[in-house]
Amino acid sequence: MVWDWLPVYLPRFVEGLWITIKLFSLSIFFGFALAIPIGLVQVAGPKWLGYIAHGFCTLFRGTPLLIQLWLLYYGLGSVFPYYPGLRESFIWPILVEAFPYAIVAFSLSVAAYEGHVMKGAFQSVPKGELEAGRAFGMSGFTLLWRVWLPRALQNVLPTLAGEAVLTLKSVPLASTITIFGVYGVGSIVRQDTYRTYEPLLFVGFIYICITGLIVVLFRWLENRVPSESQM
């Protein structure tokens, strides 16, 4: 084992870690914000909206994230030159950056997986509890906010933790569209030093640490919501 490269590349790893965490947390945030309505309309929404949500989940869960990412980044990119005005427009500075594409692709993927989970979560809340809420005179939104959503989340927090960890481990895919997170920096080290094991082990170690943090965070959340036996 040779580790002399580590001090040299440490600043780049810190930079990469920041990118990895930023991409991960923004995707989870936007993805989950989308997942709640996607899950809800499949259980309680108008039928046609439910079908659209279901179709979205099937499509995005059924195709590889890598392909979605590439269709979005390189697919859209290949269309740009045919709209000459685009390069002078105000959104061009965003379109040339790779990061927004990654956020969109990852968020949609998270939304599809967690939307599916949330559908089951909403279904799993006993009807009687919702009826009890209504009997108290709660409006639709209050019922959702005070009873339905908290009870649904309580049931699926462990599943959501698992989904979050899976999302984290998809982040290396972003290196194919020039976003060099921890994994990307690791591959630069591999190519510069021709060492295979050490950089990969180091990258793996960083991922285990982040995964550990996510697990701890979710456990903390789970402890904050009262469990079935405590009620």
């Binding site: 890598l66 590439w70 390189y74 990119g77 290949s78 740009f80 030159p81 390069r87 379109l95 040339v96 790779a98 290396p172 895919l173 290196s175 194919t176 020039t178 060099f180 990307g184 591959s187 630069i188 591999r190 190519q191 510069d192 021709y194 295979t196």
Partner: protein
């Protein structure tokens, strides 16, 4: 893509293990196309200038050779781990690489080039300040960018040669540094018509003295045989005959 490449490489590597018994020479090249040097045709056969040269060298050495595509960023480890016997995929000879592997004498040498959209005026690399420049990861071109452009230029690193060309066309990068010859088919394509060669880049320290076959340090016998084979095909006219089919200049370099 990365994943796909590594899975593909793993499959090919395990497949090539079984052929170890036949004592074939396994020539490793990048699993992505690198025209006109090598590319895979629709039926999966490798073709191109470098493939023909490699086959000619094998014939001169009286060896049976197989081509093994490997993801570029893992090709030197694949050689040292004995998953291939030779790197024959347009790898420039550099001092940095020589620390890990040996190189045969060069079998060709072409300059690096900077390409950019036709309308853009670039007369020196100083004009790239504040611009985005695409290079392939782990290439001499990325080393060049690192050395000369790291101050004030946004260097974007791509996993694959074709991807930075695509983003040059899309306008996501303002210029690309790559091998002049490898860029030629792109510049001739409909997409590449946007752009032209702005200048040739020279720095022997970065780009090295040319392209050679990568060989494990301990395989000195193979090294001698490859060098002898290069001399042989240069002398008997095989080299020029193949080169003439692809290039209208001296690819071997001065």
């Amino acid at each position: 893509m990365k994943l796909l490449k590594s899975i593909l490489a793993a499959v090919v590597v395990s497949a090539s293990f079984s052929s170890l018994a036949n004592a074939e020479l396994r020539l490793g090249l990048d699993s992505a196309n690198y025209e006109p040097f090598y590319s895979r045709s629709a039926n999966g056969e490798w073709a191109g200038w470098e493939i023909e040269i490699g086959d000619a060298l094998c014939a001169a050495m009286q060896e049976d050779c197989v081509w093994v595509p490997i993801a570029w960023d893992g090709i030197i480890p694949a050689l040292t781990a004995k998953k291939i016997d030779l790197i024959f995929g347009s790898m420039s000879i550099t001092d940095e690489r020589k620390k890990t592997i040996n190189f045969s004498n060069k079998y060709y040498n072409t300059p690096a080039a900077l390409i950019a959209p036709k309308g853009m005026s670039i007369s020196s690399i100083d004009d790239l300040k504040g611009k985005k420049v695409g290079v392939q990861v782990s290439s001499t071109h990325s080393n060049y960018a690192e050395k000369y452009l790291s101050d004030g230029t946004d260097i974007k690193i791509y996993q694959d040669f074709n991807e930075h060309n695509q983003d040059l066309f899309a306008g996501r990068v303002d210029a690309v540094v790559a091998d002049s010859l490898a860029l030629a088919p792109f510049l001739e394509s409909a997409e590449g018509a946007c752009c032209e060669i702005k200048m040739e880049l020279n720095d022997e320290e970065v780009f090295g003295i040319g392209v050679g076959a990568g060989i494990r340090k301990e395989d000195t016998d193979l090294l001698d045989r490859v060098n002898a084979a290069i001399v042989k095909i240069r002398e008997d006219g095989t080299y020029d005959e193949i080169a003439k089919k692809y290039f209208n200049f001296d690819i071997y370099g001065g």
